[in-house]
């Protein structure tokens, strides 16, 4: 039973990682940029969720608004910071992104204080029994949301016109362009959807912990980078599997490796071992 509980906790965490990492891997797949500032958008999503819930009293409304606002800001970030750097050496955009991320964290701290924000009346905190284990409603909600969004994304890319164009562009930008795909539009869409999912993750984490802090993005940001490498940069399915694997490995690892390694290093220890054995990630194509 204990193991089952760990597994469920791992899945909850893994779902959150997946929501963050998918946006990151999509940006990498399209533009070959390691979008570190993505985690800043994730934190922004958390802040929006708490601020709007406290003002309106509805978490559902807050979640929706947060996703839309952050999605738009994601597009702005692309326009201002990445578009001008696309033809520069790859580390140029990476360093700019790190700079932006640090600046964002600092702005959160300066505006909302170092101790962060909490819900005035945290919703969805009642405990329910599910398959014999105790879970909070918000934990169930976060799994449901993760599954819903990821399924929605996969339907969208399979069946909608713009979704198909998007997938084609990620696979082969030049080919897609020659078939008349508007690559610029696809990039904006990419940042909108990726940032939206990060905001969803940020909102759910805010709810799970009843807390947002300026530095809440630090650890997930680097962990999400580790995850997308494990998943084979740019590979969405691999990223999904890697997210869940890391979530579960951490839940189990904290119990059994807790004395020698701290929880947040597990992903990286795993990553470094994998990279040494398979430099292109676990699920790379070819």
């Amino acid at each position: 039973m204990f193991i089952f509980e760990l597994l469920v906790q791992g899945l909850i965490q893994g779902g959150i990682y997946a929501l963050i990492a998918i946006g990151l891997t999509l940006v990498y797949g399209l533009l070959r940029i390691l979008h570190v500032a993505h985690a800043g958008l994730y934190a922004l999503g958390g802040y929006c969720a708490i601020l709007i819930t406290n003002a309106s009293g509805s978490f559902g409304l807050a979640l929706t608004c947060s996703m839309i606002i952050v999605g738009i800001i994601g597009m702005v970030v692309y326009r201002i910071f990445y578009q001008p750097l696309l033809d520069k050496a790859p580390f140029v955009a990476l360093i700019a992104s790190i700079g932006l991320f640090i600046a964002m964290e600092e702005i959160f701290r300066i505006i909302f204080g170092a101790y962060g924000l909490t819900f005035s009346a945290p919703p969805l905190q009642d405990t329910v029994v599910f398959l014999g284990i105790y879970l909070r409603q918000c934990e169930i909600a976060s799994i449901v949301l993760a599954i819903g969004l990821i399924a929605g994304l996969s339907l969208f890319t399979k069946y909608s016109r713009i979704g198909i164009a998007w997938r084609a562009t990620v696979t082969d930008p030049e080919m897609a362009e020659s078939f008349g795909v508007d690559v610029i539009k696809v990039r904006y869409l990419n940042f909108f959807i990726g940032s939206m999912m990060a905001a969803a993750a940020g909102s759910m984490v805010a709810l799970l912990n009843n807390l947002v802090e300026p530095t809440m993005g630090s650890v997930p940001s680097y962990k999400a980078l580790a995850i997308i490498v494990l998943g084979g940069l740019g590979n969405v399915r691999g990223t999904l599997i890697a997210s869940l694997a890391i979530g579960i490995a951490e839940a189990v690892g904290t119990i059994y490796l807790g004395n020698i390694l701290d929880r947040d290093s597990i992903a990286f220890a795993f990553l470094i071992v994998v990279l040494m054995l398979k430099p292109q990630g676990l699920f790379s194509k070819g």
Partner: protein, 289 residues
């Protein structure tokens, strides 16, 4: 006077840290986002050595050696992975370092190590020692750039495949860059530990890696003078103006963005650009004659 002395000591240590990263990133073109971890290895090594009775001057080579050894191991990863993958791997090294150190009782765990022995030279003596090392390292960096090793680093930094097709043993040169850079990072760490006399895992976290990276990038990767200037300015301003200290990271972050957007070659790029314009306008004048 006391204040200026401690200021100069801190500036000197920052410069050594930045010049050490410059050897890896600037000279050899290998991105490292975990440099503070190597500074940390040096700091912990020399602290433990001196606390167990080893003289300060002997603890320095010890710190450099261990840091260098771990640097070579990480350097091996640069042979397996490149560019983006290397960035993430070295970032991982940074997190692994703090993650592991935090859990080790021997290393003081979360609490860190306090009461690190003083070398006993007084504040002024220590400052002079640090400045002396800065000068030596700066001269060494300038020399390295002119040597055939520096020439080869240029080639490796620009294009590894082409370098190997003209007979360069790319792997060895990359390892040497990591070995040199991390050894001097270890030195910076040891100097830091004996200056502050207290260290904990947080002093060598990812943010510190980015701080060192900012100095190198804002100064201009590869430019010894640029990096020295940027390291001096970026470490002294927060101390001079207390109000900046609160906003230090905001300033670093914003500067990183601005520099990347407008002058990826940093200060040295701006200077070279100005010089070029000056020469051009002079030539323009001559042409007008």
């Amino acid at each position: 006077m006391e204040y200026e002395i401690s200021l100069l000591t801190i500036v000197g240590i920052s410069i050594i840290g930045a010049l050490s990263l410059n050897m890896i990133l600037g000279f050899c073109g290998q991105i490292s986002l975990g440099h503070a971890a190597f500074i940390g290895v040096g700091a912990y090594t020399s602290s433990i050595l001196t606390k167990s009775g080893v003289p300060f001057l002997l603890s320095l080579p010890g710190a450099m050696a261990l840091s260098c050894l771990i640097g070579i191991i990480v350097g091996f990863s640069s042979l397996r992975v490149r560019h983006d993958f290397l960035a993430i791997t070295t970032m991982g090294v940074s997190f692994l370092f703090t993650g592991v150190v935090r859990k080790q009782e021997v290393l003081g765990g979360e609490m860190g190590i306090a009461m690190i022995p003083d070398p006993g030279w007084g504040k002024l003596g220590y400052m002079v020692f640090v400045i002396l090392l800065v000068v030596i390292l700066a001269i060494f960096s300038l020399y390295l750039k002119r040597s055939w090793m520096g020439y080869t680093f240029d080639a490796v930094a620009e294009d590894e495949d082409t370098a190997s097709i003209v007979g360069v043993n790319v792997a060895s040169f990359k390892l040497i860059a990591f070995a040199l850079g991390t050894a001097f990072a270890g030195l910076a760490g040891a100097l830091y530990a004996h200056n502050v006399k207290f260290i904990d895992p947080e002093s060598f976290g990812f943010i510190e890696s980015i701080t060192v990276l900012s100095m190198v990038v804002i100064g201009g990767t590869g430019s010894v003078w640029g990096v020295i200037t940027a390291a001096a300015v970026l470490s002294v301003f927060p101390l001079w103006f207390q109000f900046i200290d609160d906003y230090k990271l905001l300033v670093y972050g914003t500067l990183l963005c601005i520099v990347m957007l407008f002058s990826p070659q940093g200060l040295s790029g701006i200077v070279a650009d100005l010089k070029g314009r000056l020469v051009n306008s002079k030539e323009g004048l001559h042409a007008a004659d």
